[in-house]
Amino acid sequence: MSSRLQNILVPIIAVLLGVLVGTIIMIISGFDAVAGFVALWDGAFGESYFTGETVRQITPYILAGLAVAFAFRTGLFNIGVEGQLIVGWLAAVWVGVAFDLPKIIHLPLAVLAAAAAGAFWAFIPGFLKAKYRVHEVIVTIMLNYTALHITNYIIRTVLSEKSDRTESIAETASLRSPFFESLTDYSRMHWGIVIALICVFIMWFILERTTRGFELKAVGFNQHASDYAGMNVKRNIILSMVISGAFAGLAGAMEGLGTFGYASIKGGFTGVGFDGIAVALLGANSPIGIVLAAILFGSLKVGALNMPLQAGVPNELVDIIIALIVFFVASSYLIRLIIKRFSKKGVK
């Protein structure tokens, strides 16, 4: 069996296994599995409102997945997407409330501010890795907490007077789309999905078409050979983190400028950044794979909200299914082994 086909089969089988085990868990705990899945489907696509909400959820997932995957393709593990997303969110909202500009300037400025903030937040671990060989995983994890508490502080003391949220952003900085809203029965679906899809193309273009992408990938695969070939390994490591962080920052802009229109004090992480790791993993770090994985996870997340209402199944079950899918993708070695067994039998 060709390795390409296997790369496509493995995630599909992982998803099926995740659903299968989820079903078993539902049955064991005495729930009606069929009703549960019907409710899940209805909750994601049953009405146009739900579909709109699903797309809204998919949008930041795509960007967070791109952020993780871009770093991964260049040999880095960016666990800090969550933190970069949070600072991006805040930067976008800050620009959104602080300025009074025409939309054609204000909105791009707010979006770019988010990308820049995420990029800066990722520059720190990139720089430390390139210059002092500090492992990026440790730094990015720490910076997630730093981002959370610093943004909370800024929201409380700078952007509001001891309130737990900022003002809403100016209409000129908003991604809200009356067109999408009317199309989807007044869901919160916004223009961000367009930005996300453009970024999918950008990631593909940078990695597959540009000279810089060639270098970034070379450094990711083999630093010694890149060094030998005269590439600037350190600069490429930093650049890779910066681009990854910019994607993560944009994911924050989706929430700040699209879904919510403000930034609020957070008791904990949004989880979108961490789910981005799962999206990238399931999508095999390829642009198209990430879109598909984001659609799956976004649908599961939104659809799950309907499960307690319609079928009496707790929506935490979907978290279990997502965890199982991630588990099965991570243990893809096992799945490959099973595929091998089966294809061998087929030959005999």
């Binding site: 000279t211 060639f214 270098e215 990938k217 695969f221 083999n222 010694h224 890149s226 070939a229 005269g230």
Partner: protein
């Protein structure tokens, strides 16, 4: 005559390829039996079958005349089969004895009886003339000694049949002679040896019989007495091979590389290259001979910009290139065939085509306005693949899936094609078979004949003597002698490399 090992009609398949087909290997008791074949001919597969790591699809294995089923390495051990690996499996921080008893510790009351173990090791060492100090730490002893520890390890476990996997690849000429003595002693004591190698000289010198494998097929077994290196080489490669590299007289012209008083520190900050002087002219090949770890790697890294120098100067065509970044050195006209092709030479997960432009990808026509031009890249790759006889299914194949020889040819194609004024070839034929070696030597000499300067680093004295026009001997970071390959002997070179004699005469130009 009784056979200790018989492998009959062995067939081993992997998905898509037959690694071993119809191979017979019969080893008599008390003989040294060579297993000869090119890289990828199936030698390792066959030995892994014998060692229980692979199960053959067909065939029979007999040990001492009895049919056996070796399903894992422990069974092989119990049957008295021991392997001396090419890459030593030793723990640096442990002593010789600790390494040897690892996994077979002698304990009394839960405590290791180190005294007893040391005595046993000493006894075995004495019996086979190994003269290893049981209390020495592995990190303190030479590579040759470490190899003896590997031998001791198998003997300690009661091996009767020892498999040596390319044992001389890492040794100096003197150490090779000592190893040959040790092998002879082992035979005298009733052991049997299988020697995996592609060095014909060694086979002629120590072996009794030789079994040749080519492309997974057993070609046959010969008495070493009745054959000669030429016959063996053509059996192995499947065509006639010329050994003596034919070349015209060198015609050196202007200086290309001039190194003066060069100081380079290694990664630990210790002086690796000490006040080294060397020059290479257009139209000559200068070979650097030396035991591994005498500053060769650091010297080449310093020239190519991969390592900072701590003093002195490196001039290329009269211009200082010391401490320039690698790209500037490359653009100034230096080609570099690196010592470790997997670590430095290739990005294994890139296609062979992408690897062909690893030094030039950012230049026109491969890249315009920051965008890659795949069409140009793969057209170029295709022509290089053809010119340098790189055997690959296509230019889109991953470099990882090519054999070592073809990977090396790809690197050489890439570096030679840029037509550099100075071509540095560090161990360009390491681990390659006769056919590939012949090809690579020809290309190096071609470059010389076109008036380029070539710096050859090799641990194979034969290669150094055959290809170089001048030989610079490096010892502890200094060029201690420059000799003419036509006037020197391997013996003299070996002594120079070991620092046993100093010969400054005729030295520094």
């Amino acid at each position: 005559m009784e056979y200790v090992i018989e492998m009959l009609n062995i067939r081993k398949e992997f998905p898509g390829i037959v690694a071993n087909n119809n191979i017979n290997l019969q080893v008599k008791k008390g003989e040294i039996h060579a297993l000869l074949g090119e890289n990828g001919a199936g030698k390792s597969t066959l030995m892994n079958v014998l060692f229980g790591l692979y199960q053959p699809e067909k065939g029979e294995i007999k040990v001492n005349g009895k049919a056996v089923n070796i399903t894992n390495p422990n069974i092989a051990n119990d049957l008295g089969i021991g392997m001396v690996h090419q890459h030593f499996m030793l723990i640096d921080k442990f002593t010789v004895t600790e390494n040897i008893i690892l996994g077979k510790e002698i304990t009394s009351g839960g405590k290791i009886d180190m005294k007893k173990a040391e005595n046993e090791v000493r006894e075995i060492s004495k019996r086979y003339g190994l003269s290893v100090d049981p209390q020495a730490k592995i990190s303190d002893i030479s590579v040759g000694m470490q190899q003896r520890v590997e031998i001791l390890k198998t003997l300690y476990r009661g091996a009767e049949i020892l498999i040596f996997d390319e044992p001389t690849a890492v040794l100096t000429p003197q150490e090779i002679n000592e190893l040959i003595q040790i092998m002879k002693t082992l035979i005298k004591e009733g052991k049997s040896i299988i020697l995996i190698t592609h060095k014909l000289k060694e086979i002629m010198e120590v072996c009794d019989q030789v079994t040749v494998i080519r492309k997974g097929e057993g070609i046959g077994t010969l008495n070493v007495k009745d054959t000669n290196p030429n016959e063996l080489a053509s059996l192995m490669v499947g065509r006639e091979v010329t050994f003596k590299t034919t070349k015209k007289e060198a015609n050196p012209k202007d200086k290309v590389l001039e190194i003066n008083d060069l100081l380079v520190k290694d990664s630990r900050g210790i002086d690796a290259v000490k006040h080294l002087n060397l020059e290479i002219r257009q139209g000559e090949i200068v070979g650097i001979a030396g035991v591994d770890g005498n500053g060769q790697t650091e010297l080449i890294e310093a020239i190519t910009g991969l390592r900072k120098t701590a003093g002195g100067s490196i001039k290329l065509n009269g211009k200082e290139i010391g401490n320039l970044v690698t790209r500037k050195v490359t653009e100034a006209g230096v080609g570099h065939i690196p010592q470790d092709r997997h670590k430095h030479g290739l990005v294994l997960d890139f296609s062979i085509g992408e690897n062909m432009v690893l030094q030039t990808y950012y230049q026109k026509p491969y890249s315009k306005y920051g965008v890659m031009n795949d069409k140009e890249i793969f057209v170029k790759a295709k022509s290089l693949i053809k010119e340098f006889d790189v055997r690959t299914p296509s230019e889109y194949t991953l470099a990882r899936s090519l054999s070592g020889g073809n990977q090396q040819k790809a690197i050489i194609g890439r570096e030679v094609d840029r037509n550099p004024d100075l071509l540095i070839a560090a161990q360009p034929t390491r681990g390659l078979d006769v056919g590939a070696i012949e090809f690579i030597h020809k290309r190096l000499i071609d470059q010389r004949d076109q008036g380029k300067a070539v710096l050859l680093l090799s641990f194979e004295l034969e290669e150094i003597m055959n290809v170089s026009d001048r030989i610079a001997v490096i010892y502890e970071g200094e060029i201690i002698a420059i000799v003419d390959p036509k006037e020197t002997t391997e013996q003299e070179l070996g002594l120079l490399m070991a620092g046993s004699i100093e010969k400054k005469a005729g030295g520094m130009n």
